[in-house]
Amino acid sequence: MYRAGTFISEESFVHRLDARLKLAAVVSLSVFIIWAKPLTILFMGGCLFCAVLSAKITLRTLGQAIKPLLFFIVLIFLAHALFSRNDGSFPGISASGMREGFVVTWRFLLLITAALLLTMTTMPAQIIAALKYFLRPLKHLRVPVDDIAVMIMLALRMMPFLLWQKDKIEKAQLARAYDWRRSSLKRRVGAFLSLIIALLLGLFRRADELALAMEARNYARGERSSFVVLKMKPADYRTAFVFAVMLLIFMALNYYLR
């Protein structure tokens, strides 16, 4: 089964782009998404979805990746729809609240889509290499950039494990006839605590083994080399230029639109 947000091996224009360019584009786009006016981000959304389709990512796959966040998306929408009233009375549904809810949810969706576009089209090693590239100046301040990169890699690696472990413990609870829908609050809290403890125990055990495995493969803190060579190609420069022009257009739109 496809796991949310992980790299999808495909041959596409977006896949071939330099990871640094994609990372920089996503960061700048994210800032703009937060800052821009509602109508501008509507246009931006269209462009972003075109980029998603050109990366050969189907809307179904995108939906699968967004699905785990559906609860937060609905929560964000409801929070704004119910509590953003200009007349100061709350809670209650109002036209302005609904509008605010849609805009904030749209912004949130675009932020997630931009991040997913990066992670689905770029191998984690390339993202880490790009991060290392941008963090490189910090080496002069003795910031352990290589160690940070390994930490990010391990965090990415642990994420699916955590989800899998949570699933396993929940199934084990179900197998022993625990049904949270029919349980009292006290039992639910107890079951939740035992889930957390089991998760943490599993995580620590795994971290211990992983540390041994890393040691066995000669890992030591400090500088490491990388098999990823980042090199900007003519297509990357052209894309960077087009992206910069589009960003300028969005800025202009943002200035003239209401």
Binding site: R3, T6, F7, S9, M123, P124, A125, M153, L154, L156, R157, P160, F161, R206, E209, L210, L212, A213, M214, E215, A216, R217, N218, Y219, A220, E223, R224, S225, S226, F227, V228, V229
Partner: protein
Amino acid sequence: MISLNNVHYRYEPEGIAALRGVSLEIKDGEYVALIGPNGCGKTTLIRHLNALLLPDKGSVEINGLDTKIAKHHTEIRSCVGMVFQNPDNQIIGMTVEEDVAFGPENLRLPAAKIKKRVAESLQRAGINDLATRNIENLSGGEKRLVAIAGVLAMNPRYIALDEPTAFLDPAAAARVLETMDNLHRAGVGIIHVTHKMEQAALAERVVVLNKGAVYLDATAAKVFAETKLLQQINLRLPQITQMLLKLKKSGLPVRTDIFDPDEAADYIGQLIKKK
């Protein structure tokens, strides 16, 4: 050569001794199976070969390098690769080639050399088609092979594998064993920890551990001829040996040093024809 001299080890100062005076020598390119009941010290022993554990008493030398000297560790860990029991606890990268590159990256090799090593290791492990695959989408058997490729990228002279076929279906287990056999043929020394006697019988030499000490150390034929000694520590014989022993007990003059099913079938077929 790997040399263990009177190795003693305890996990806790007051705890039970995991190893009690183990002395062993493993030659370059040798295929050694390490068997024994649960808790006999197999995993503890192989972790000494990679300097992950250091002996409380005695010494472990890998090509003359003492594991107790920290500056030797990089060379020792490049020389003896370690494949852990659970590949999920060993795989660090998110994609196959990313994980295989982890070791050479730690050795600070240049990118071109790392890429070459990754390609070679994937080829040797027979999984070059998986290079860009996401680890999460691999089967258990494929993950074992990725773990082996990750170790091969360090160019080891020996590989210690802790139950490499545990939890695998027969087809995946056969693929892992075939890869190990190919590596052995290519000159890599194999130290194979296993509970499966049929797999141990494939090795050139079988070392039986019991209560942290070497109990038996000989060729598979000689070790599995010691039925009473093996029964005393609750180890069962390979199924083929059990069958041949039963035939012998029933009065048939059969050999009992055959461990390969095909060879056993041919042998029994010939016996039937003679009769």
